[in-house]
């Protein structure tokens, strides 16, 4: 049996989550591997969310936000955009391939694009194989969260 990756998607409420709903309303079929956490804005995605997902068994993490300039909160998506390169460097140092983290701008009307991105990303992560368990163990077990 081929490897079925587990992927966590953090989608902003206004664009990508709505776009994902539209894919549903339009009955567009896509791979079942991505499980979604709804956040109000992609700007809410704390890098620790991504680390936490990898720690808990995710093989890939997808972040979805509004197109630049279309953010419901004006500029939250741009904050995310700036965090990603830093986070990717950190992941690399931990031995997690860059290709396991993907940031996509998907608007509320882009159900078709959502479907395509999901299928592409699932294949991409499938090709990378399961996340190295040694790496996973090295990630902090308990979150540092105080809130």
């Amino acid at each position: 049996m081929s490897f079925e990756p587990k992927i966590v998607g953090f989608l902003c409420n206004w664009c990508t989550y709505t776009g994902a709903d539209l894919a549903g309303t339009s009955r567009m079929k896509y791979a079942p591997n991505v499980r979604v956490v709804r956040v109000m804005c992609s700007g809410r995605v704390d890098p620790t969310f991504v680390l936490k997902a990898f720690r808990e068994g995710a093989d890939g993490v997808l972040l979805g936000g509004c197109h630049p300039g279309d953010c419901h909160y004006q500029s939250g998506n741009m904050k995310t955009l700036r965090r990603i390169p830093l986070l990717k460097r950190l992941l690399k140092d931990m031995g997690i391939e860059e290709g396991r983290l993907r940031l996509e701008w998907i608007s509320a009307s882009e159900g078709e694009r959502y479907q395509r991105v999901i299928n592409e990303f699932v294949e991409q992560v499938r090709a990378l194989g399961p996340l190295n368990l040694e790496v996973r163990k090295a990630l902090p077990k308990k979150s540092q969260a105080t809130a």
């Binding site: 587990k6 966590v8 409420n13 206004w14 664009c15 989550y17 709505t18 994902a20 709903d21 894919a23 549903g24 309303t25 009955r27 567009m28 079929k29 896509y30 079942p32 499980r35 979604v36 956490v37 709804r38 956040v39 109000m40 804005c41 700007g43 809410r44 995605v45 704390d46 890098p47 620790t48 969310f49 936490k52 997902a53 808990e56 068994g57 995710a58 509004c66 300039g69 279309d70 419901h72 909160y73 004006q74 500029s75 939250g76 904050k79 965090r83 608007s107 509320a108 009307s109 882009e110 479907q115 979150s143 540092q144 969260a145 105080t146 809130a147």
Partner: protein, 665 residues
């Protein structure tokens, strides 16, 4: 921390149950720590479904509820309200989206059921971390802004004003009226557009509750539902409209001219001008690009003749700020530029007209006083109307512009009426006559001797060009140089036709306004794949947007005819009114909060907040969030290096638990 959780798995008829084994999901949920009961039900959103949930809350003292059903964007409010009625804080409800993001998109029952279980596990774990929150209430300013003074905006403004709401109606052009003011007759009843529109324009212009701002544009919008602060640029028109009596002497005397925008460039207007005779307000403005005084400092003829001393060359643009409770966007459409389809000859061949040009040509108040003639003054003996110019076209717009079939029929009728000898062709792909009385109008036109050719007009050539290009045998008999040849495939006869005509009328596609993207951003309204503003729900919330308190009406939402546009104008007004009459509304309680004892005073968060909601207390060296300004995006929470900021309802604990649940199987 809630530990008596009820889980409800909705069948949604067969929408969910057809793909997800709902009983298996419910059994699985029963085994998750904290779950005291787990049920399935045919339709959770129905009254009995909600009653079931309410009864459980009351009888079993549930302290949180998970509903596995459709998207939270669909029914989260429904279940929150139901919980609240039963005495449970609405924030102790969590939705697992097992329809839009599971049963409808997954192939294979096994995979769909597994995914649903993971989503339910996540929702339960998250619900265990939920805290009760109080909704915040804000007062609504009882006024409205309507952007765009076409028929949609006029209708919305009048409906609101008649209900006693103070309305600011902003129009970019010097007069309200929009596209409808340019039309001659309206299909299918053929009543004259001006006759039905002008009274509404006048009513809007003189209504005591409407403040009309023409020659003005919205520059900035801040605030949120109930209290939008809007900056409006009042462009300098160099005429003091408080003093101007509208006598028109300045226009008569002005020696300089420019192309008339209203007449589609088919006629000239003066440098000081009214766009058209029935303009509202009926007072002129000066075009600074055509006025000799504003360009070179010479002339001032208008000043000399103006007895009211209303000409004011010192006028500058100024920015006015208004506060309104709600906004209606009715910014309309633009017609596609025919030059983008060069093979149709528009802009190159003088005999090819756009639809708006033909409207003006046919209008009794237009450049030819309603005489249909070519640019060289000939009465056309044959006219071809080409449907779908840029619509239903993979190279341009995939959508149907919805009104072209009908106005093409209208043109055919008007041509036959004014020029009974003329041959009139309609080249169409499909006839789409779907409205009330439309099919009947089509039947009537078929009996009026109009020639219908099922096939898209693909190319238009000048007579001289055609003669030079094709062998003499392929030149239609008697083709004159100034004539045109329409090339089309008659798909019923399966034959390519070359039809000689004197005039061609194109039906350019409806397009979003050139600045729709910018306007959408200004009002935080998304756009669809076609570029038009996106409604909240295509069927159930057609004039609402995802930005609460902002509504859309008319062709800015997509191509539409006048009846539908007016209906949307009224619909948007009624939505705005229903908001205003509530006097206050509840807004999200999910704001950010700085935990004093953890804040290091680094100020990272302050620059990140797009709403300036975070201030720094110099004395205590701590940041603080202003609840009234915070919109709950959570950007500051993610950025705080000390994890000192708490996102209510979207806190780290809640999201971590959700992640754990998602990956627990």
């Amino acid at each position: 921390m809630p530990y008596k959780i009820g889980v409800y798995v909705c069948h949604c008829g067969t929408n969910i149950a057809g793909m997800v084994n709902v009983e298996e999901v419910a059994d699985f949920a029963r085994g998750i720590p904290g779950v005291t009961l787990s049920r399935t039900y045919k339709f959770m959103c129905s009254d009995p479904g909600q009653a079931l949930l309410q009864e459980d809350i009351r009888k079993n003292g549930l302290d949180a509820v998970v509903v596995a059903a459709c998207s939270p964007l669909m029914h989260e409010r429904t279940f929150r309200r139901a919980a609240q009625e039963a005495g449970l804080n609405p924030f102790l409800v969590q939705i697992a989206n097992i329809r839009e993001q599971c049963s409808w998109v997954t192939e294979g029952k096994g995979a769909a059921t597994e995914k649903a279980k993971a989503l339910v596990a996540a929702a339960v774990r998250r619900a265990r971390e939920h805290q009760p929150l109080e909704m915040r209430r804000v007062e609504i300013t009882p006024s409205a802004l309507v952007v765009g003074g076409g028929i949609a905006g006029i209708q919305a403004a009048l409906d609101l004003a008649d209900a006693g709401v103070q309305v600011v109606l902003v129009e970019r052009e010097p007069s309200i009226g929009g596209h409808m003011a340019m039309f001659d007759k309206t299909f299918p009843t053929l009543d004259c557009a001006a006759c039905i529109l002008t009274p509404k324009m006048v009513a809007a212009g003189s209504h005591p509750n409407i403040k009309l701002m023409t020659w003005s544009e919205v520059e900035e919008v801040s605030g949120f539902v109930g209290n939008f602060k809007v900056k409006i640029r009042r462009k300098a028109g160099y005429v003091d409209h408080d003093k101007c009596t509208g006598c028109g002497l300045c226009i008569e005397k002005c020696p300089y001219k420019a192309d008339s925008e209203f007449e589609q460039g088919l006629a000239k207007r003066k440098a000081i001008y009214l766009p058209f005779a029935q303009a509202v307000p009926n007072k002129p403005i000066i075009d600074k690009n055509a006025c000799a005084y504003l360009k070179n400092g010479k002339c001032r003829v208008c000043v000399k003749f103006c007895e009211a001393a209303a000409i004011d060359f010192t006028q500058q643009d100024r920015v006015e700020e208004v506060t309104v409770g709600t906004i209606v966007l009715a910014t309309g459409f633009q017609a596609m530029d025919g030059r983008r389809i060069p093979e149709l000859g528009y802009g190159r061949l003088p005999g090819v007209y756009s639809a708006l040009e033909f409207e003006r040509l046919n209008n009794a108040a237009g450049p030819t006083n309603g005489v249909i003639q070519t640019r060289d003054g000939r009465a056309p003996r044959s006219v071809a109307i080409l449907h779908c110019t840029g619509s239903r076209d993979e190279n341009h717009h995939r959508y149907c512009s919805r009104v072209c079939c009908m106005y093409a029929l209208k043109y055919a009728h008007l041509l036959r009426e004014k020029l009974p000898e003329a041959r009139v062709y309609n080249f169409y792909i499909d006839m789409r006559c779907f409205g009330k009385g439309y099919e009947e109008f089509y039947k009537r036109l078929q009996e009026e001797g109009v020639r219908f050719v099922r096939g898209k007009g693909a190319q238009v050539w000048g007579g001289a060009e055609w003669k030079a290009m094709v062998p003499a045998a392929a030149v239609p008999e008697g083709l004159e140089d100034h004539q045109l040849v329409v090339v089309a495939e008659d798909s019923l006869l399966q034959q390519v036709l070359h039809v000689p005509v004197d005039m061609v009328v194109l039906t350019p596609a409806f397009e979003p306004r050139f600045d729709a993207e910018e306007v959408g951003r200004r009002f935080l309204v998304s756009r669809g794949a076609d570029g038009f503003f996106l409604e909240q729900h295509p069927k159930l919330a057609p004039v609402s947007t995802t930005n609460e308190g902002v509504f859309i009406a008319g062709a800015c939402q997509g191509p539409k005819d006048i009846p539908d546009t007016v209906a949307q104008g009224s619909a948007a007004a009624s939505k705005a009114l229903s908001l205003i009459t509530r006097k206050e509304i509840e807004i999200e309680a999910t704001t950010a909060h700085v935990q004093d004892e953890l804040c290091s005073g680094c100020r990272t968060c302050i620059g990140l907040c797009p709403y300036n909601a975070i201030t720094f207390d110099e004395a205590r060296k701590r940041a603080a969030v202003n609840d009234a300004l915070c919109k709950g995006c959570g950007t500051c929470v993610a950025a705080c290096p000390s994890s000192a900021i708490l996102a209510r309802h979207f806190g780290d604990r809640q999201i971590f638990s959700e992640i754990e649940g998602l990956l627990s199987l």
